[in-house]
């Protein structure tokens, strides 16, 4: 295994980390409208991710930065090619971060409801857009001999990619509902479980469709294994939440995300962005990567820093391990 192969795996790991973590906080954002019956319940949901959403988002920045450093051509083609979808994601992430931080800083009801609408939409839109983006990467887009994307914005909105977007949306929302049942107490916890069950079934149908399509189109033996793991884990997560085993369910919905992302990366390899115009023009782990010297430095940094990050992020979840209920939301501190 060469360094650029290792970095292909590491980039996949970063995206898995991002979708696993931000997946449930996107889900929580969407659920503020689907699950909460009143303002206090909305706040309960938001506060389950309060201390951690920002740290979760850094996985995206790291994935972006690591792609820049390890595969500059991939970074350049992807981000300039998917310009408008990415712009939409960025705008959402900007507003979303501010919405979390500022929502409670004024007591006026209009101020707060405006930010609540913002939280819902800015969680929902990126959850869809990431699926669309990855669907397109896997499917292959119009890349010319100079590694430039030459397709249009509307080329990105094809049925396969849109199905991918629906899968990430439902999967993240399911993952979020399971997280909510794990982190809350009282009435909302019961409803979170019920919602998770329904969402799980919808996700299962969509995900199965998307993954089978992927497998039929691009798959091989390895991707088939990843697909089977993803599907079994998803079914396991649904069974577990029905049985009231919230911790197990959350772990399994996490495995679903990890295995599904792994499957997409497995179908890509050794490409990183296949060209639909000419196979020769595809970006690969070799023609898109940095020099071995840069990759070696990056590997040292990743090997040392990542375990430390996991350690203290894990510790954060332990510090805030207590479940939250409506009784924990102070009336005065609007």
């Amino acid at each position: 295994m060469q360094l650029h192969d290792i970095w292909f795996v590491l980039i996949a790991v970063l995206w898995i980390g991002y979708f696993f973590l931000e997946g449930f906080d996107f889900g929580i954002g969407v659920l503020t409208k689907l699950l909460a019956r009143n303002r206090v319940e909305k706040r309960v949901l938001i506060n389950t991710i309060g201390p951690v959403w920002d740290g979760n988002e850094v996985w995206l920045l790291t994935a972006g930065g690591a792609t820049f450093a390890a595969f500059p051509e991939w970074y350049a083609t992807l981000f300039s090619g998917f310009y408008l979808p990415l712009l939409l994601i960025l705008v959402c992430l900007i507003v979303r971060g501010v919405a979390f931080e500022y929502r409670a800083k004024r007591p006026e009801e209009r101020w707060q409801t405006n930010w609540e609408h913002a939280i819902f939409w800015t969680s929902l839109i990126p959850a869809v857009m990431w699926g669309v983006a990855f669907g397109n990467i896997v499917r292959g887009v119009e890349i010319d001999a100079h590694k430039e994307y030459v397709g249009s914005f509307f080329d990105l909105l094809n049925p396969y990619a849109i199905l991918g977007g629906l899968v990430t949306l439902t999967l993240f929302t399911f993952h979020g509902a399971v997280f909510a049942s794990l982190k809350t107490v009282g009435d909302i916890r019961v409803r979170a479980r019920k919602a998770a069950l329904g969402l799980g079934l919808v996700t299962a149908v969509l995900a199965l469709g998307f993954l089978l399509w992927t497998q039929a189109d691009k798959g091989d033996g390895k991707s088939l294994i990843a697909m089977v793991v993803a599907v079994l884990a998803l079914l396991g997560a649904i069974v577990a939440i029905k049985a009231g085993r919230e911790g197990w369910s959350f772990a399994l919905s996490g495995v679903t995300i990890a295995a599904a992302v792994a499957m997409l990366f497995l179908t890509l390899f050794p490409n990183v962005m296949p060209s639909s115009l000419n196979e020769e023009w595809s970006l690969t782990v070799t023609n898109a990567s940095s020099s071995p010297y840069t990759l070696r430095i990056m590997t040292w940094c990743a090997v040392i820093a990542t375990p430390v990050v996991l350690l203290y992020q894990g510790w954060t979840y332990w510090v805030f391990r207590k479940r939250i209920g409506t009784q924990h939301i102070a009336d005065a501190a609007h």
Binding site: W53, L61, L78, F79, L87, L90, F100, T306
Partner: protein, 514 residues
């Protein structure tokens, strides 16, 4: 196509707007994180309540500010790929690594521990809670270092070689330590951090004065005033030293930028420092110029008689080296941004340095003029002589009104250093016009330029109004819970079966919730 709307021009405007806007939050975040950490440490060590009130007050302003810094920073990470894809392809091998390091080392620190700090008041013992804000502070400083090292490569590329791969040239890293620790990076970092200290000091001073002038929260604000003034003074000293060092380094590395800053058209020996100039760029000379002889020679070379190369000669030299073209940056922009940087910074330097002396507690001060912790400090000129009240009241007012002057100065500083490097994006290696994304259309850039500008404008209004609200509100009253922080990690009700975890404790509202 109309030149004003060329994709390169639009992409540059977008980069300028989003970056200057992002940077408005950066120095304030760097300094307020450290100042909040200092105040919390004072509370942990002394147990004096006004330190905790000050921590909560400044911590709130810090949070309102860092929220904007974080979200506008996301754009920065992606913008190179979106709008400058040819730049990214060309330098990614060198430039990407510090960015990845920044995310992996600094961003995770900041974002994870800021969550612990915000929500941790009733979850962490106070020493541990205090440690989290220190880690945030370290994160902000590390983050600044990595991005400045990356920027230093654009100002003065080192530690790379040009390699041809698949028929395309690109820069490849040969010495990462050189990129990270080259003089340009160290001196730039020194200058940015010094300026950030000044920004925070002037900000804290100004806001403390808002309350002191209204005779509110005197205890807390008096402490804040002194901390602000000391910080601003330290920032002043460091900024002056670092500016001098940086100026000399820049004269070595980018003489064109520095001569543009002085509108020094022809080489002169000795060269004067320009106070005011009005000139004609196309003809290449000044029509009006007010100058101090010899000073520029001294600033650039430590010698009042040294020869300093002029813009016209440097341009000719560059043509011989790089081929035909115009190698001058926009001279009026360079000239005036340089002056605004120094001017805005200088005003606060003077006011805060004066204030540090005038409000001193004991040093060279007759006992009858010393003021207590609950009084507003007198402005004492000498041991027994108070500053005339009319002048004194102007000091109070000006120091309040100029609270964001250094911040404006830092924005001009970046405008100067980035536009002054033009037409290069990587000095002497890659031109800005060759760096832009070829596949991104004019319409797309226009969409994002307008989109970002509008959203940033709306958020600026929201942010400033929120800051004003919390500034006016003043430090919060402390609650029982504030004064009795938890003694174990996780807070009450999170353990299993210990005696103290009564139901009432477990159901206690969170100390902070969104």
């Amino acid at each position: 196509m109309d030149l004003a709307l060329a994709p390169e021009t639009l992409a540059r405007w977008q980069f300028g707007i989003t970056t200057v806007y992002h940077f408005l939050f950066v120095p304030l975040t760097i300094s307020l994180a450290a100042l909040t950490a200092i105040l919390e440490t004072a509370w942990v060590r002394t147990g004096k309540e006004h330190y905790l009130r000050a921590t909560k007050f400044w911590g709130k302003l810090f949070l309102i500010n860092i929220a904007m810094g974080v979200v506008t920073g996301i754009v920065q990470e992606f913008q190179f790929g979106m709008n400058w894809s040819d730049y990214s392809r060309f330098v990614g091998d060198v430039f990407g690594a510090p960015l990845a390091f920044e995310a992996l080392i600094a961003f995770f620190f900041e974002s994870t521990f800021i969550g612990l700090w915000i929500f941790g008041w009733d979850k962490l013992p106070k020493k541990l809670h205090c440690a989290t804000i220190w880690i945030v502070s370290i994160g902000t400083i590390l983050s600044a270092y990595f991005i400045i090292a990356a920027n230093a490569f654009m100002q003065h590329p080192v530690g790379y070689k040009i390699v041809e791969r698949d028929g395309v040239k690109r820069a490849e890293l040969t010495d990462f330590a050189k990129v990270l620790f080259q003089e340009t990076a160290l001196v730039n970092f020194f200058h940015v951090i010094s300026a950030a200290i000044l920004v925070g000091g002037a900000f804290m001073t100004g806001i403390a004065i808002v309350h002191l002038r209204k005779k509110r929260h005197i205890r807390t604000m008096r402490t804040s005033l002194r901390l602000g003034l000391v910080t601003a003074f330290v920032g002043t000293l460091l900024t002056v030293v670092s500016a001098d060092t940086l100026g000399k380094v820049m004269y070595e590395q980018q003489p064109m930028k520095m001569s543009a800053a002085e509108a020094l058209w022809e080489s002169e020996k000795p060269a004067p420092f320009s106070i005011f100039a009005y000139g004609d760029v196309s003809e290449g000379h000044n029509k009006v110029a007010i100058e101090v002889p010899g000073v520029l020679s001294f600033l650039a070379k430590n010698n009042f008689h040294a020869e300093i190369p002029g813009i016209n000669d440097l341009n000719k030299e560059a043509r011989e080296k790089f081929g035909p073209g115009d190698y001058r940056p926009n001279i009026p922009t360079a000239y005036w941004s340089y002056r605004w940087m120094i001017g805005f910074g200088g005003v606060s330097m003077a006011l805060c340095t004066a204030g540090l002396w005038l409000t001193r507690k004991k040093f060279w001060l007759a006992p009858e003029h010393r003021t207590g912790a609950d009084e507003i400090p007198k402005l004492m000129l000498t041991k027994n002589r108070e500053l005339a009240p009319r002048i004194g009241s102007w000091w109070w007012r000006l120091s309040q009104w100029t609270l964001i002057f250094p911040l404006i100065g830092t924005a001009w500083g970046w405008i100067f250093t980035e536009t002054g490097r033009q037409p290069w994006v990587v000095y002497g290696v890659l031109r800005t016009e060759d760096a832009v994304s070829p596949g991104v259309s004019q319409g797309e850039v226009l969409t994002s330029l307008i989109g970002f500008t509008l959203i940033y404008a709306v958020l600026a209004v929201i942010e400033v109004r929120l800051l004003l609200k919390y500034v006016r509100q003043g430090p919060p009253e402390l609650t029982e819970a504030d004064l009795n922080p938890p003694t174990k990690i996780g807070g009450p009700g999170s353990g299993k079966g210990s005696d103290s975890d009564s139901d009432a404790d477990a159901d206690r509202p969170m100390a902070f919730s969104y």
